[in-house]
Amino acid sequence: MLKYIARRILFFIPALFVISLLAFVINALAPGDPTERLLPEAGAQAGAPGEVSKQRAYWRQKLGLDLPVFYVSLNTLSRPAGFGAGQPPYRRQTAERLLRACGNDEAVTRYMNTLYAAEQACRTHAFPGAHAMAQLLYDLGHTGDPLHASGMLDELERLDRGQVVYGRIKTSFDAMEGGATRWKNYIPALRLHPDNRYHRWLFGDGKTSRGIVRGDFGVSYTTREPIGDIIGKRMYWSVMLALLAIALAYLVSIPVGIRAAVRPRSRFDRASSVTLFFLYALPVFWVATLLLMTFANPEVLHLLPASGVAPPQGFPEGTGFWGRLLGTLPYLVLPVVCYTYGSLAFLARTMRGSMAGVLQSDYIRTARAKGLSENRILYRHALRNALLPMITMFANVFPLAISGSVIVETIFSIPGMGLETYQAILNLDYPMISAVFTLTGVLTLTGYLLADVLYAAADPRITLKPERLS
C-alpha cells in the first residue's frame, strides 16, 4: 500500500508540472494587463506627460511582466526579444508593421524615437505651425505603411519652414528604407530565456519570493497579502460548506438509493427518481433565492438569517468557540441545502444502480439461500460493496473546497473561495488565479489517490500491487 501511495505521489510531479504550466499559460494569454488596474489614466495628472508610461514600465518590471513568458520563444530573426517594449501600445503596433515592411529593428526603433521626440517638441514649443506639425507627426507615428508615410513626409516638408524637424525625420526614414533587411523576416529564430516569468513563478526571484515549488505562491497584487494566507482564511468557509454538503448528500442519497434498489420500479423508486431529477434540473440561483425569500423573510417565515456567517455586528464579546459554532449553524443551513440538492439525484441513482447490481450477485443469492435476514444481507453483506462507486464521488469534495461556489457565496454573502477567485479574475490578480488553479489540480489528484486507498480498504479483493504477468 505504502509503495503504491509513493508511486502515485511520484506520478503527481509530471501531472502538476502540466497543470501549473497550463495555469500559467492561460494567465499569460488572458486579455488585460494587471498594471492597468494599478495605474491612473494617462494624462490624469499634472506631471510630465510620459509619467504614466514610465510608471507602467517600472511596474511591469517590478512584477516581472516584462520578462519572456517561457524558457523558449520562436520568432523571426528580425524581431529581437523585447522589441517595442516601453513604447505606448499604438506606437508599438506601428513599429511592428514597419518591422514587417523593412526587417531592420534598429532602424525602425530609431525612426520611431525620432518621431516621438519631434512630436513632443512640437507640442511643447509655440512656434508657427507647431500644432499642425504635431498633428502630422502624431498621425505619422500611427502609420505603419511606409508608402503612406512617404506621402505624409512630403506634407511635413511643406509645413516645416525651418526644415530641422523634417530633416531629422527624413534622415531616419531613409535609413530605415535604405537599411531594409526584409529577408530577416523569413528566417525563424529560436531563442532561449533562462530568466522568464514561468521560471520565476516556479522558483521565485531570489529576493522577495521563493516560488511555488517551495510552497510560496507569492503575494496578491491587490492586497499585498501572501496568497497562502488569503486561501487559508477563505478556504475555511468553503471547506466547511463542502463537508457539510457532502455529508448531507450522502446521508440522504444512500438510504434513498438503497430503498429504490431493494424495490425497483416501485412507487418509491419512481417518486424519488422524479423528485431528485426535478431538483437536479433547478438552477441554484433560483433555488437559493426561493429559499431566501421563504425562510429568511420577515413577511413569510423568518426562521433563518438572510446573509453572512454571523450577525451583522458580530458575536457579542466573550462568546466562546461553541457559542460561535452554534451561532453560525443557522447561517449555514440554506447555503448547505443549495450546495447539496443538485448532487442528490446523481448520488442516489449511482447508489441505486450499484446496490441493484450487488443484490443480483451470487453471494447475495447464497446468503438468502442460507436464510439470512434481508436487513442483514442488505447492510452487512451488500452495502459495503455497493458503496464503492460512492467512494469515487467522495474525491470531489477536495476540489470543491477550493473552488467553492460563486453563486451560493454571492447570494448568501459567504466569504469563501468561489467569490475570492471570481474577484481575482476580475482584478487580473495573476498570482491568486494561478494558485487557485494549481491547488485545485493538487486537491483533485489527492482526492483520487484517497479514493483509491479507500477502495482498497473497503474491498479486500482490490489490490493496489501491480499485477505480475504469468
Binding site: A30, P31, G32, D33, E36, R37, L38, L39, P40, E41, A42, G43, A44, Q45, A46, G47, A48, V52, S53, Q55, Y58, P89, Y90, R123, H131, Q135, Y138, T208, V219, S220, T222, T223, R224, E225, P226, K233, R234, L292, M293, A296, N297, P298, E299, H302, A306, S307, G308, A310, P311, P312, Q313, G314, T410, I411, S413, P415, G416, E420, Q423, L428
Partner: protein, 604 residues
C-alpha cells in the same frame, strides 16, 4: 437649504438641480417625530456595501470603499465641505496662500491635532507623507503621477507649523490633491527616520538606483506589507474612529476613539456621533432587501435602483427607513469608435454626421421610462449639470429619427439594396452599417439599455449586434480600441474638471480611457490650458469652450446621469445626503432617543 421630505419620491428636475445655489448643494432629511418601540436604541450604524476594500493602507490602494473608510479613520490636510462641494481646511488651519503663479502653496498646520500616542501633528509628518508617497519603492503607482508634481516642501524658519509646497507646474488640483491622501505619522511608520536621509528631488525618476539602497528597500518592504493595510494594530490615523475588527469578507468595525482631539467638534469630517460604524458586505439584491426589512442594516448607498423602488413600496420599510434617490456626478454613455484602424474595425463612425445621427436615434424616453424608471436626468455633455463649470447652453440631443436619416444620407449612407441596412462605399468596397454593440455582462440593466438602443438604431437602417462581455475582456477591448460601439459609465467628482483622462489623445494612444479616439492637437492644447489655469473664472470659460467642442463633435452619446440610492434608518437624525461620494457621512448620524428634548417621542 433643500429639504427633501419623505413624500418627495424623486430627485430634483434637471433644471432645478442646475439652479441650486452653490452654497447649498446637499439634501437634508427630516428627523422623525416618534420612535416605535421595535427600533434599536444601540448607537451603532450598520452600513451595507457590496464589496470590502482590499486594504486600508494610507497610501496604497485604489478602491472607493477604502477612501470611504479613511474619511473616518484618517485626516487630510485639506477636506471637502460636502454641503458646498468646496475645499475647506482640514489639518491646515486655513486655506493655503497661493502665489500668483500657482506654484508656491503655503499651509499652516492646526495646533490641536494629536496622534493616538499623544504626540502633536508636525511638519515632520507632512514631509514624511510626501516622501513616502513619492518614494518609488512604495506600492502606490496610482498616486505617483500626482505626487510627481510636488517639487519641494520648505518649512518656515520662523513658524514650525508653517510650510510651503513648491509645485513643478501649475495645476487645478494642486491644492485639492491634499484631500486624497491622509497625513501619516512619521514616528509610527518610520521610527528610524530612514526617509529623513532623502529629499523629494531624490525620488524623481530614480526607481532603479533607489532600489539598491538597502535600508530604504527594507523600510519600503515593511511599509508595503499586508499588516499596514489590513491589521487593525497597524492602521494608525488622526481620524476620530479606529478600526476595531476586520473579519475578512464579512464586516469591518470602526470604534469611536475615547478622548480624541476632535471630541465635541461639529465639523463634518471631525464629528463622531455613533459609537460604532459597522460595514457589512452583502452583494445580493434579495438578501439586502430582507436584511433591511428585518432592520438588521441601518444605511446603504449601494443597493440597486429597482431594489430601492421595491422597498419604497413596502409600508413597513417606509415606516422605518428613509429611501431616497440623489444625483451624482457619474453618467452613462454610448461610445463610438471615432478612430478605428480600418482593419479590425471599419470606419463607420468617423464622420460627425453619423455620430450625431446615432445620438438622434437613441430612444431616450423609452430608456428613461423602462430602464431608468423615470428617475435619472439626461446628460448633454461631459460635465455634470451639478457643477459650476457646466455649460448650460448645451441641450440634450432629442430623439429625431427623420433628422437622423437626413444626416446619414448626407454622410453617404444609403440603403442601395433595399435590405433595410444602410451601405456606403469605403475605399472602393460596399460596407454595410452593421456593427457590434458591446456591454458589460454583469448587470441585466446594460442588456436592457443595449436592446432599446439597438431597436432605435434599426429604425434608420443601422444594425447593431449585441454582445455581452465580462469585465476584463470588455475593458481590454475598449482600451485597445477593439470595438465599434460600446456602452459604459464614467465616474467623476465635484473637483474642477480635468479632461485629460477621457478626452486627451495621449489617453487614446496609451490605451487609456479615451476609448472613442476623440481629439487632436488643438483639443489637447485646450485640455492642457484648462488643467493649468488656476484662475477660476477663466478656467470655467475654457472648460465651457471645451464642452462645446465635445458636444459639436459628439464622439460619444451622453445618456443619463446616475443616481445614488440612499437608505437610512429613521432612528438616526441630522442625516444629510451629498452629491459627492460617499453620499452620506455616517459619523454625523445622531441617534434619536426617546425623551431627549428636541428629538422624538416613543410611539407604541
Amino acid at each position: 437649504m433643500i429639504f427633501l421630505v419623505a413624500a418627495c419620491k424623486s430627485p430634483l428636475t434637471r433644471q432645478e438641480a442646475v439652479n441650486i445655489p452653490q452654497e447649498n448643494r446637499f439634501v437634508a432629511l427630516p428627523d422623525t417625530d416618534s420612535i416605535p418601540a421595535d427600533w434599536s436604541g444601540e448607537n451603532t450604524v450598520v452600513y451595507q456595501w457590496i464589496a470590502e476594500p482590499r486594504m486600508l493602507h494610507p497610501t496604497n490602494g485604489i478602491s472607493g470603499q477604502r477612501q470611504e473608510v479613511l474619511l473616518y479613520t484618517q485626516m487630510f490636510l485639506i477636506a471637502t465641505d460636502y454641503r458646498t462641494l468646496e475645499p475647506v481646511p482640514g489639518l491646515a488651519g486655513a486655506m493655503p496662500d497661493i502665489s500668483s503663479d500657482g506654484l508656491h502653496i503655503t499651509f499652516e498646520l492646526r495646533d490641536e491635532p494629536r496622534w493616538d500616542d499623544g504626540s502633536a501633528l508636525s511638519f515632520d509628518d507632512i514631509r514624511f507623507t510626501a516622501l513616502a508617497s513619492k518614494c518609488p519603492l512604495v506600492d502606490n503607482p496610482n498616486a505617483k503621477p500626482f505626487w510627481d508634481n510636488l517639487g519641494e516642501l520648505v518649512p518656515d524658519a520662523q513658524n514650525p507649523r508653517r510650510f510651503t509646497a513648491v509645485m513643478k507646474t501649475p495645476y487645478i488640483h494642486n491644492v485639492i490633491f491634499w484631500s486624497d491622501w491622509p497625513v501619516m505619522q512619521r514616528t509610527f511608520h518610520d521610527p528610524d527616520n530612514v526617509l529623513g536621509d532623502y529629499t523629494l528631488a531624490d525620488f524623481d525618476n530614480a526607481a532603479q538606483e533607489i532600489g539598491n539602497d538597502a535600508p530604504l528597500a527594507a523600510w519600503a518592504e515593511r511599509f508595503n506589507s499586508a499588516p499596514y493595510g489590513r491589521d487593525p494594530q497597524y492602521l494608525n490615523g488622526l481620524g476620530p474612529y479606529r478600526v476595531a475588527e476586520w473579519e475578512d469578507g464579512q464586516r469591518l468595525v470602526l470604534e469611536r476613539k475615547i478622548n480624541h482631539w476632535t471630541a465635541g467638534s461639529t465639523a463634518l469630517n471631525e464629528a463622531a456621533l455613533p459609537d460604532r460604524i459597522v460595514f457589512v458586505v452583502n452583494r445580493d439584491a434579495n438578501s439586502q432587501m430582507l436584511e433591511f426589512r428585518a432592520q438588521n442594516y441601518d444605511a446603504s448607498t449601494n443597493i440597486s435602483p429597482s431594489t430601492l423602488l421595491s422597498l419604497r413600496d413596502d409600508p413597513a420599510f417606509a415606516r422605518n427607513f428613509h429611501g431616497e434617490f440623489s444625483d451624482t456626478f457619474f453618467y452613462t454613455y454610448l461610445a463610438m469608435n471615432n478612430r478605428p484602424d480600418g482593419q479590425r474595425r471599419k470606419a463607420l463612425f468617423d464622420d460627425v454626421n453619423v455620430r450625431r445621427a446615432v445620438a438622434m436615434l437613441v430612444p431616450y424616453d423609452e430608456l428613461h421610462g423602462i430602464v431608468f424608471k423615470g428617475i435619472n436626468k439626461r446628460m448633454s455633455g461631459p460635465v455634470s449639470f451639478l457643477k459650476r463649470e457646466f455649460n448650460e447652453s448645451l441641450t440634450p440631443v432629442p430623439t429625431d429619427v427623420d433628422g437622423a436619416k437626413k444626416l446619414l444620407a448626407a454622410a453617404g449612407w444609403i440603403d442601395t439594396d433595399q435590405d433595410g441596412i444602410l451601405e456606403k462605399k469605403i475605399s472602393g468596397k460596399q460596407v454595410p452599417m452593421m456593427f457590434e454593440l458591446t456591454y458589460l455582462s454583469v448587470q441585466t440593466e446594460w442588456k436592457d439599455i443595449a436592446t432599446i438602443i439597438a431597436d432605435g438604431l434599426a429604425k434608420a437602417g443601422l444594425k447593431a449586434e449585441l454582445r455581452a462581455l465580462d469585465y476584463p475582456v470588455f475593458i481590454s477591448n475598449n482600451r485597445q480600441h477593439d470595438f465599434d460601439m460600446t456602452l459604459g459609465a464614467w465616474g467623476a467628482s465635484s473637483a474642477p474638471e480635468d479632461f485629460s483622462q477621457v478626452w486627451h489623445t495621449s489617453a487614446w494612444e496609451s490605451n487609456g480611457s479615451n476609448f472613442a479616439g476623440f481629439g487632436d492637437v488643438d483639443g489637447d492644447a485646450l485640455i492642457d490650458s484648462v488643467k493649468t489655469t488656476v484662475e477660476d473664472s477663466l478656467r470655467i470659460e475654457l472648460s465651457k469652450r471645451f464642452q462645446r467642442i465635445v458636444y459639436d463633435r459628439q464622439p460619444i452619446v451622453f445618456l443619463f446621469a446616475s443616481v445614488r440610492r440612499n437608505i437610512v434608518h429613521r432612528r438616526f437624525g441630522d442625516v444629510e445626503l451629498y452629491y459627492e461620494r460617499p453620499g452620506m457621512l455616517l459619523n454625523n448620524f445622531r441617534l434619536l432617543s426617546a425623551g431627549v428634548a428636541g428629538t422624538a417621542q416613543v410611539s407604541p
